[in-house]
């Protein structure tokens, strides 16, 4: 019997992998949790699409300040060293390759690193892309955090996405509740798995062929 990582465990795992001095943009959901687990001995600078570079956590004691919010419209704080950009500069930071890393949620990721995370494709859904497409083409590294399968057990790592794409060949690495998978030129490479999970079991929960790194980490 294998365990599954909690959302917090996944966030903690990603946080541990972010190098000192990185400029990072965190998406909605599990990625937001990462900010809580950044190691104290590293300076990781958080960027938000509405122009804050150097964003601190929200202060629950302080009254809501509408001019200090993140992309999810949640309250945030400024930290020593933070700066403010307008929207064109903020998106130049993304598209221009100045953001070292973005971590995003996903509906599906394909074997080639195609990402689907903006639209369910449901006919009744109102199309709303926000900054997702700008972020994925521009950030130097794109990590995805997600559950390995849907609640119904359907794999979210697939050969070809059937949800509408956010970007083509943009994802570099996937952190799931079961494994860490790198997207390489040679295909999907599993670099870590949870305790008690066999490679065959992981493959059965994944709708694209996986390869196993020789020395894997156990989560």
């Amino acid at each position: 019997m294998h365990k599954k990582l909690s959302r917090e465990d996944i966030a903690r795992r990603v946080a541990a992998d972010i190098p000192d001095g990185y400029y990072v943009n965190l998406g909605i959901g599990i990625p937001t949790l990462i900010a809580r687990y950044l190691p104290d001995d590293r300076e990781v600078i958080l960027h938000t699409e509405n122009g804050i570079v150097g964003m601190g956590p929200g202060d629950e004691e302080a009254p809501l300040d509408l001019d200090l919010i993140n992309a999810s419209k949640e309250p945030v704080t400024l930290i020593p060293g933070s700066s403010i950009a307008d929207h064109t500069d903020s998106f130049a930071m993304m598209r221009g390759g100045h953001i070292d890393l973005t971590v995003l949620g996903a509906f599906q990721v394909s074997a080639a690193g195609d990402l689907a995370n903006w639209d369910t494709g449901h006919p009744d859904a109102i199309p709303a892309v926000g900054g997702a497409m700008d972020l994925v083409v521009g950030a130097r590294n794109v990590y995805v955090t997600m559950e390995h399968t849907t609640r119904e057990g359907v794999p979210k790592i697939v050969q070809t996405c059937d949800y509408p794409l956010t970007g083509e060949s943009v994802v570099d690495r996937i952190y799931t509740d079961l494994a860490i998978v790198d997207i390489t030129d040679a295909g999907l490479l599993v670099t870590a798995m949870v305790q008690g999970l066999s490679f065959e079991d992981l493959q059965a929960l994944t709708a694209a062929p996986l390869q196993l790194k020789q020395q894997i980490m156990r989560l």
């Binding site: 699409e49 419209k73 998106f91 598209r95 859904a125």
Partner: protein
């Protein structure tokens, strides 16, 4: 003497014509020029095209304009309610599902850059954003050094409504924290930019190097009196 100060909101928006394209600043509830939008509601112009990051932000302002059937088309990056627990784009959703309003969904950075192109005298430009996605369908594309690009066109406004913190009678503006968002780019992208500010300072009081939007981009400036706050 150059004095762009306007005394009341009614005068500020008086010449907005039917069919106008209006760029409205703000991101979520941050730096939304609500008083200008409410004045437009009173003014009566119809068949409007509105460019705003969102398609309404609570019941007041843009949502009222949409509910009143005055908006023909929304150009925005995120037309869904950003808060599922407290839906804030309800009027838009109803109008959209009822087929009473058009939507052009544009990636947020592309929207900003299209306005920057308009304000900077540029023509169409290539961006990698949206390449290979549904939002690039029907658009011209090209591949350069192995990267796919999509051709996008400048986005110009007849009017821009923006909110800043301080200003002066020449229209110079400073912004408060992340309330800057779309203000500077919308100011440059419209024929007539109208800025509402918390305070109009005497000319020369704002530090030149702290001014974010030069008055050259601003046609009218109006101070929001406390009792006018919507």
């Amino acid at each position: 003497m150059l004095d762009k100060t306007v005394a009341d909101f009614e005068t500020a928006v008086a010449d907005v014509h039917d069919g106008a394209t209006i760029l409205i600043g703000g991101f979520g509830a941050s730096a939304v020029p609500t008083e200008l939008v409410c004045a437009l509601l009173e003014q009566g112009a119809r068949e409007l095209t509105i460019v705003n990051n969102n398609a309404g932000n609570g019941p007041v302002g843009l949502s009222q304009l949409i509910a009143a059937g005055r908006v023909k088309k929304m150009i925005c990056s995120f037309a869904r309610s950003s808060n599922k627990l407290r839906p804030n784009a309800v009027a838009f959703a109803e109008a959209y599902r009822g087929g009473r309003i058009e939507l052009e969904c544009v990636p947020q950075g592309t929207m900003a850059e299209r306005m920057r192109a308009a304000g900077s005298g540029l023509g169409p430009f290539y961006t990698p954003t949206s390449y290979g996605t549904a939002l690039a369908e029907g658009k011209e594309t090209r591949i350069e050094d192995g990267v796919g690009y999509v051709l996008e066109h400048p986005l110009k406004g007849d009017f821009a409504f923006i909110k800043a913190q301080y200003g002066d009678r020449w229209g110079n503006l400073t912004y408060r924290y992340a309330g800057r968002n779309f203000g500077p780019v919308m100011a440059m992208a419209a024929k007539t930019t109208i800025a509402q500010v918390d305070r109009i300072c005497p000319l020369g009081q704002l530090q030149p190097e702290h001014i974010v939007t030069s008055g050259i981009f601003v046609k009218r400036i109006i101070e929001v009196q406390r009792d006018q706050h919507a």
